[in-house]
Symmetry: C2
Subunit: 193 residues, 2 copies
């Protein structure tokens, strides 16, 4: 890596308080705190590297990150409907359709008509799909485990809270419900909303 080696121009660098210690003016101008800009960059770097290892694996098998996302959510939240997936990924039906079709055609995902509403297509990973999902998740889980370890055991709850609160107000409840449902309702027979 190239060494960037820049000069420092930053003033004092607040580290402790945020909104608590901000007056109304500062609250409207969060850009005043350079520590927040550090977090903007760290989030970029963290996510960049979070996706690099799976991306490499995906490339070998002719898939992309879009396939990973679909496979992950179907695997973890088994029995998900297509509409749920669209809402999670915030992409269009057509975009999803392309990658989903490939995943189905190549035997990673199966579709099943809903029991109560047979228009719905409930999505499940096959054994093959679960294997790939696990293989893709492994480097990400290792990375997260390392980062939690390095930032202290007590950090986990605060990281989770922080990331949850980074989610749009409008979607936060849905996301937390999805997480509560957790490792998927494989074989669920529950009511599809």
């Amino acid at each position: 890596m190239t060494d960037i080696n820049e000069q420092v121009r930053r003033p004092g660098a607040k580290t402790a308080s945020i909104a608590d210690a901000m007056d109304d003016d500062a609250r409207n101008q969060p850009e005043a705190d350079p520590a927040l800009l550090d977090l903007v960059e760290l989030l970029f770097f963290a996510y960049r590297d979070f996706t690099r290892e799976p991306d490499k694996i995906l490339e070998e098998i002719g898939f992309g990150r879009a396939h990973h996302r679909v496979l992950h959510f179907v695997n973890r939240h088994s029995g998900l409907r297509v509409a749920d997936l669209l809402d999670i990924l915030k992409i269009t039906k057509q975009s999803l359709g392309r990658v989903l079709k490939q995943l189905v055609d190549e035997g990673y995902i199966v579709q099943e008509a809903g029991k109560t509403d047979r228009r719905e297509r409930l999505l499940y990973t096959t054994a093959r799909g679960q294997e790939l999902a696990d293989r893709l998740a492994l480097p990400q889980l290792r990375r997260i485990a390392h980062a939690l370890d390095a930032s202290g055991a007590e950090s986990q709850s605060c990281i989770g809270k922080f990331l949850s609160e980074m989610v749009c107000e409008a979607d936060r409840a849905q996301v937390s419900q999805l997480l509560k449902a957790g490792a998927g309702a494989r074989g669920r027979s529950g009511e599809p909303a």
Copy 2:
């Protein structure tokens, strides 16, 4: 948003210890801990929403997320070389070239030959570029300030540590150096590595 409403199948949900309390086997199989998978998903949702507001602004002016990334790093780390940017973004010269050219052509960024090495093109934002960078950063800073606030004031250092440790080992030193250099060395005359 559609209500997903799934059934729970998850067992106990570890929350406290991570690697400290893991035996060697568990350390090699971090996928065993469902709380880590929650963080995988939260990171996806957080990043998804972190980029949504700027993306909307960008769309109005015919730019994309790639322009934002370039503009951000040039603005914050003024005097950056093209090679630095390639290394930060991990994209090819050709990919960068296209968006950089647009940013220069439309007066957001200026290039200046390096003083000690005149092959280098040092990049700076214009007033117009700074305005746009600030406008794009604002919703992201607001979101981060909110999330820090909601996860407790003492959380900031642990979030920063966590995100730093999410970065690839190989790049971690460079990233932390970049952050130390902080809000850019505008008008720097220092040695370009």
